[in-house]
Point group: D2
Chain length 346, copies 4
């Protein structure tokens, strides 16, 4: 086996990424080496590409990028028992400690010592990646690599939609990026009466319709509060799934919630937001859930069930594919917003 590989690396404290020859990672006793077959770009990767304040605070350079991927196990550590060479896997990107109070009470997604692949340690936009065996999710052999890679991100959608009770309810999804549109598909699959979706991009609103939205609203063009009241007999919605992080989405979404409604928040505003707790939350008896990552492994089992039973079809989400070396073009496309999920193929 060769010693080096090609990898997309954040090497310098400035915008952009580099495509470098680096050592193929060594594996520890409990690690596995994965030959990456497909990887997909996440909004977080774009933050790293752009080198925004969050990225500058969080990253220690150099670090290989990418945390959504699938591949084949090509080597295993001496103590590995859960995975075998030759198996196809995807990966939970949160490497959790296993011993903090969160991990010890079945809430590993809130682990106090989380390290994230492609952020805190080398990631999957590379020919090979080393991960702990505990992070491996064995995929069925007949699952396409790009769908397998997408599962991590799909898990965010599942986690969000499963947090609230959407059965026979009217649901508003604010933000139609890839996670948003997958959330629409999940909400429909688990019985939402209607799913309304908002965004500022016509491209993404169209994708929302493809993924099952009953109606979409462009925030730039209509007064969303009035428009959604109009299609709900003035009642508004039972459930808000906030995927955008936009302050106006928070305000409008909560304004549209019926008394007793539920809101699951995944989108990150990135800065403090003025919020009217009295009218938007307390007087209406709203319940709000902060959503982060995926429940390990509950969300993965749920995601698998939805995919395998075909009640959710993820294919339309993947709109573009690039060979790994064209990563820069892929990132530029992501920044344009004129895409769904973009897949890199090493």
């Amino acid at each position: 086996m060769k010693k080096t590989m090609r990898a997309v690396v954040k090497a310098k404290p400035q915008p952009g990424l580099e495509f470098l020859d680096v050592q193929i990672p060594k594996i520890g006793r409990h690690d596995i080496l994965v030959k990456v077959k497909a990887a997909s770009i996440c909004g977080t990767d774009v933050h790293i590409y752009r080198w925004d304040p969050w990225a500058r605070d969080r990253l220690h350079l150099p670090v290989g990028v990418g945390h959504e991927f699938s591949g084949e196990v090509v080597e295993i550590g001496t103590d590995v028992s859960l995975v075998e060479v030759g198996e196809t896997i995807s990966a939970e990107s949160h490497v959790i400690c296993g011993y903090c109070d969160m991990c010890r009470t079945g809430r590993g997604h809130l682990c106090r010592n989380t390290k994230i692949l492609g952020i805190d340690r080398d990631g999957g936009f590379a020919e090979y990646i080393s991960i702990p065996e505990a992070n491996a999710w064995i995929d069925p052999e007949d699952m396409p690599s790009e769908i397998a890679a997408l599962q991590e991100n799909f898990g965010n959608a599942v986690h969000t939609a499963f947090t609230a009770d959407v059965r026979s309810k009217r649901v508003l999804v604010t933000g139609c990026g890839p996670v948003g549109v997958m959330t629409i598909a999940v909400a429909k699959a688990i019985g939402a009466r209607a799913v309304y979706a908002t965004d500022i991009s016509p491209y993404r609103l169209q994708l929302a319709m493809k993924m099952g939205a009953d109606a979409t609203f462009n925030v730039k063009e209509v007064n969303v509060v009035e428009a959604i009241r109009a299609v709900t007999e003035g009642e508004g919605v039972d459930v808000l799934l906030e995927m955008s992080g936009a302050p106006t989405a928070l305000h409008d979404g909560f304004a549209l919630l019926k008394p007793g409604g539920e809101a699951a928040l995944l989108g990150l505003p990135g800065r403090p937001v003025e919020f009217n707790f009295d009218d938007l939350l307390i007087f209406k008896g709203i319940r709000v859930y902060g959503v982060i990552g995926r429940k390990i492994w509950e969300t993965w089992f749920q995601a698998r069930g939805l995919i395998r039973s075909k009640v959710v079809d993820l294919k339309p989400v993947i709109t573009h594919r690039f060979p790994l070396e064209l990563y820069d073009k892929a990132f530029q496309l992501m920044i344009s917003g004129e895409c769904g999920k973009v897949v890199l193929l090493p």
Copy 2:
């Protein structure tokens, strides 16, 4: 308006029913008079027809039969404020007191003083029925009368399926009578990964497939426990929805439940059943829910959402229609089991 009407009445303490001329009911201040447009036959009505021990204990004769119906409001009491003459309604069949501890804590379906239409007071297999306005559920004008009539019974299916968390889970529905097959449709609509169904009637198992079951198993022909393990990688199911009341369904259903599974029980065994609490319930940490009636009105709102959004289609459940005067033929068909839901048209 005429003074008398035709009604199906349990008049004598013996099997069968009679088709009589009776007074059109008077309404009290809070009651409404409904001209029945469609009514459907429930298993409970068959118990009354057959005059089985339960019926003999419970009924005070004579009493008009039938509790699933829809119709038009033709007269309202002086204090009625929620319903207007000319509106189309269905009815919650449980007339609840409103003041017991159950009613006062949002659990009217468990009211300690429940009276049931068609059992404890005159029912809807008649040209007219008087009901409290509090029991009226106003239907959209474009809803077919027979679907509207079916909502009460559909509510049992919704109540049962909504009791457990079926999202992305494997679900076993034991018993494919009309409520059973509607429960299958609901479970699929709210995201079950797979729904397996059992019964002893090929006719009903075929209906189960029409309503969305992924696979059916005839208890007379196969070992259900083995057969369902075989299609679930040996794991069994996450959720049992027991709609038959058959002791073998209880045993097999619980045997198939995975650890941590949930069971919702609607079918009534009718007599004590030998049950292995250790292996079937305690060691596996199973949760069990007794299901009775419909949550008033939560279940009705849920049912409406599923019907209006077309995620559930009830049409295939209705397999036969008879004019009211052919009620006896309709009951004979029900007894044969070679039918889904049978509708009577006054």
Copy 3:
């Protein structure tokens, strides 16, 4: 019976209240007339007294004030069936419609047509009050009138503390007004491992200790976040019960929440608050519940159980009593903050 009575009335659009001779209220068919025995002053009454912007927007003058009271039923309407003359009652202050979607799904506390006694219709700081029989809560004969009067407000505390799971958890109660200190008592009674309390008033913090707080912190004197971390091995708290409406209490309370924590919000900030959703809510996977009023009647049953079983003792909360005609002195005391609950005796 005499025709007029003495009542505390908001008669003019300016600060203060008046003590007037008014007609004894007439009762409708479903109403009861109650001779008030004790009434307690709520923070809302102080808003009305002060004539702040909220009060100016909401009230239509003149209106009798007061919504926490108990008394004896002295007359009943012709259709009343739940209450008899001579019985002692307290009152749910929210007069709900009974037919909106919230009322019809067991969520009357979120009724879309709520009218509140003493705000939207004449209240209980008077010799007599007329209320719907549906709002009467029959008290045991041996319950002291002032405790009976307090139940409505105690219900807010019960509702808040019961919203989260405090069993064996560390709980922070921000705000030690009367509802806050009753919430402390409830949290302790239902198994909190420790209850920490914050306020700016030494008087109220002392009352918090009397009601069962394990430790109190004066926000003016210490850095609450540091101080509570210090007594919780750096971990913070599992549950926040926010009773003050103070923005700093929101920020500090959420900052102290452990990942996976729960926050129940009853206090009303009164204006939009800058809030860091990322760090305080989303990254930590926090669940938040807006709390308004009391679940009707679930909260009342819960409150009764806590009082009757003596696991909560409300006596220390009542710190002052005044004859009704000294209402102005009572309100001045309330404004000073140097009191717990203040009772008026007609």
Copy 4:
């Protein structure tokens, strides 16, 4: 260090136990060696002593007995990172696999590959025991050894009482063995309005009173259903915590449940029981929870909170102490039933 130790061993397939010299256990890379300071006898140990059918089916002889213990860590395996030599620990007795679907979804107490200390591998009625570090629960230094040993069994009580919502509710605990009386203490600590307890032993009913029961009923002397209805205004109880496994306790307990009530079942009948699902479970809309083991580690954290905050005092449960070599006398006492928890001191 010496090579052999004294241990209570099930060596022969017949009633009784033996006190033998055996090798001090070797530890693997992830194990720790614990010098036992205190151990307590569980009902399961009595089954093994008696060599009943369950024991005959389950055990492979010889095996050291005892799964409730505490002690000092005296040696650690080369890969151990969570525990240090010199620390005082108790142990979760279920050795779980960590990779089955139950373990991977936060439900380790339902692990499909559970091995139990003192049943499937050598236990803690010995001078030393080897356990996986993953099973160690580090205790505070000031916790008495016998209380520390008791935590495993106390966890069963916590798990059971926390399964239902007992806040402000009337609770029936059937069975006043050690777990039963600890469950009483927990139910009171987390806000039960009243706890009623039943058993056939006056000694145990007295212990129930000491642990906080509001009233006790000897099943041999009174009709429990009538007696408990009499003290609950005819209403019965909201929650049943079944700790005895006695069929009559199941029947009476469910008969006493109010509509909408909850039942948590920990006691094992040991054989199928005739049960009236219609009247006892379905018509009343009862929810039932099978309870096994302890949630790992959620229950342990809950148990710690209750003990450390002193809302539960376990001292009265421990009624007898014996040096380890008098184990046979201790078992005879357990069989007599005239005891609470019996502690062995190596």
